[in-house]
């Protein structure tokens, strides 16, 4: 068992037992942490692995949340059945938005995605087709029912979010050990070399987008379930900046890095609510310092993920 597996198991074990110790205030912080960790991990597929400067990740989180809200409140669909739509819509929107600009270089791409995020927020706030509810959003989202059981307690929602995190980590582990996952790293490290090895760069970048967006979409659904309401400011540009910063500050493609990043950005402010207003000041300073002192993030990724039979025997060197 290697280091990474140990950390993952220890982390999941702590998270699994947290509801036994926590009161309801802590539990809801726990849910927030889980949901935002999933979104951060999904951004880590796009930004940390494919290396695409996506500054609009809150869009896909929002598409998921609003899909669940609209289908449930306006069309009366059971929550559980809205989730496949949240996945598919997020992936489709991701490909439609990123497709035409996928050839742009890092900084240009980043500016374009900021534009998308601003437009998205405007669309939500202006109650397009009378579906999005305007600046106040959508209220009165139903509780989730699975096999006739109503799962409305915080503990139940906590474990739904926890399950989603496990699935996300499972997908990421499988991704990292596959042709597609490796292609993303190659593109990130040297795009010209990747092309020259026969890797279709735009195709793999869009794949990363579709996969990252669909995971963020499910997280959005869970977010909507948790608050039984959605509103535009949860999916604005500032949220995208947060998801972007978590990955870079924590460490691209690094599991502990993303967890630390999410904890610092989303959980600490909840613990120190009296400082809530000044939190951006502290984060801003933390981001600047990390980039100066540890440009690869607090906990950078390590490579060398190859099968055992290829590893040189110890002492052979």
């Amino acid at each position: 068992m290697n280091n990474k597996t140990t950390i993952t198991i220890a982390f999941l074990a702590i998270m699994a037992f947290l509801p036994l110790l926590a009161d309801s205030a802590w539990l809801s912080i726990g849910i927030t942490f889980l949901v935002f960790a999933v979104v951060a991990f999904s951004q880590d597929i796009i930004l940390g692995r494919a290396g695409v400067f996506n500054m609009g990740h809150a869009i896909f989180f929002g598409i998921g949340a609003y899909t669940t809200a609209i289908l449930n409140v306006h069309f009366g669909l059971e929550i559980i059945y809205t989730i496949p739509f949240a996945i598919i819509f997020s992936a489709i929107i991701a490909v439609l938005l990123a497709g035409p600009i996928i050839h742009l270089k890092g900084d240009y791409f980043l500016v374009a995605t900021i534009g998308f995020n601003i437009i998205f927020e405007q669309v939500l706030s202006n109650d397009i087709f009378g579906l999005t509810g305007g600046p106040n959003g959508i209220f009165g989202i139903d509780v989730i029912r699975i096999f006739g059981y109503e799962l409305f307690s915080d503990t139940a929602i906590y474990y739904i979010a926890f399950g989603l995190l496990i699935i996300t980590l499972f997908i990421i582990r499988n991704l990292d050990n596959s042709k597609y996952g490796r292609a993303l790293y190659y593109i990130n490290k040297d795009e010209i070399a990747a092309k020259s090895m026969g890797i279709n760069v735009p195709y793999y970048k869009l794949f990363a987008f579709a996969l990252g967006a669909s995971i963020a979409g499910v997280a959005g659904s869970v977010f909507a379930i948790q608050y039984s309401a959605v509103s535009p400011e949860s999916f604005n540009f500032m949220q995208s900046v947060m998801f972007f910063a978590i990955v870079l500050v924590g460490g691209s493609a690094s599991l502990p890095g993303v967890i630390i990043g999410t904890f610092v950005m989303f959980v600490l402010p909840e613990l120190f609510t009296e400082f809530k207003e000044s939190r951006y000041l502290i984060f801003g300073a933390a981001m600047v310092l990390t980039m100066i002192l540890r440009p690869n993030g607090v906990w950078p990724v390590t490579f060398g993920n190859i099968p055992k039979f290829l590893r040189p025997k110890k002492g052979a060197k």
Binding site: N174, R182, Y185, K189, A193, S196, G304, I306, F309, P312
Partner: protein
């Protein structure tokens, strides 16, 4: 099929300036074809046209009889034209084995859903892929360095990893851009042997090289270019004594060129 690569009357301009001018080159399978000429003659530009990094303005490039002029780089690579780079483009933070795996990308049959769910097909494909990497690491004597990040390796080792990566794609045309640059004498001798044995696998090899001893020993046929134009073509012994070639090299201040090439 007589030729693996046919470059016919190819020209490339950069904002009105001629980078390569009406070049015609034919490479046979298993042949080692040298491209030489002073710095700035357009050699790397020619390679970039063949591999799709640039699209030539005039002329045509055919690979195994199929027109590949202006095709995107990844398509050309998928067809079997692989390359190395003058300034080494490895994935520095990644291990030797992972780097070589990049070359196997086009051979792996995994689909998008294999990155989410690992089934028995995935397992078989993944094992086959790593076996190929193992084979290449043995061939290039890199097995002990499998987990070492390529950025930590010596120049000579890095050049070998880059070649192993290109070979992992089972190319039929291998394009080497100054493979001996920065290597010491022993490493150059080793490299010469490797290139020879690659050509014996019936892979066509096209190489730019400034090390004249190596070029004269290794290549079967040479084109000399200067200011983008062909000034001579033939077997090494002919090119070596061609007055036009001697003039181009002396006329272009040969000593400075050599220093530039070695200083890189």
């Amino acid at each position: 099929m007589e030729y693996v690569l046919e470059i016919k009357n190819v020209s490339k301009f950069f904002s009105g300036l001629v980078a390569i001018d009406d070049l015609t080159i034919n490479v046979k399978p298993g042949q080692i074809y040298g491209i030489i000429g002073p710095n700035g003659a357009g050699k790397t530009t020619l390679f970039n046209c063949v591999t799709g990094i640039y699209a030539p303005e005039k002329g045509s490039i055919k690979y195994k009889g199929k027109d590949i002029t202006g095709m995107p780089p990844h398509k050309i690579a998928q067809m079997g034209v692989l390359r190395t780079f003058q300034n080494i483009r490895l994935f520095k933070e990644m291990s030797v084995a992972e780097n070589i795996m990049a070359g196997y990308h086009t051979k792996s049959k995994q689909k998008w859903y294999h990155s989410i769910i690992h089934n028995s097909f995935y397992k078989k494909d993944e094992l086959e892929s790593w076996k190929k990497v193992e084979e290449l690491m043995n061939f290039f004597d890199l097995s002990d360095l499998a987990t070492t990040p390529t950025g930590d390796l010596s120049y000579g080792k890095q050049r070998k990893v880059e070649m192993a990566r290109a070979l992992a794609a089972s190319p039929e045309l291998l394009i080497l851009d100054e493979p001996a640059a920065g290597l010491n004498e022993n490493e150059t001798i080793e490299l010469t042997k490797i290139i020879k044995s690659i050509s014996e696998m019936n892979i066509g090899i096209m190489m730019i090289e400034h090390d004249m001893d190596m070029v004269m020993n290794l290549t079967d046929y040479i084109t000399v270019i200067n200011f983008g134009k062909e000034i001579s073509q033939g077997v090494p012994s002919f090119v070596q004594d061609d007055p036009r070639v001697i003039e181009a090299y002396i006329g272009s201040d040969d000593e400075n060129d050599k220093e530039d090439a070695n200083g890189k």
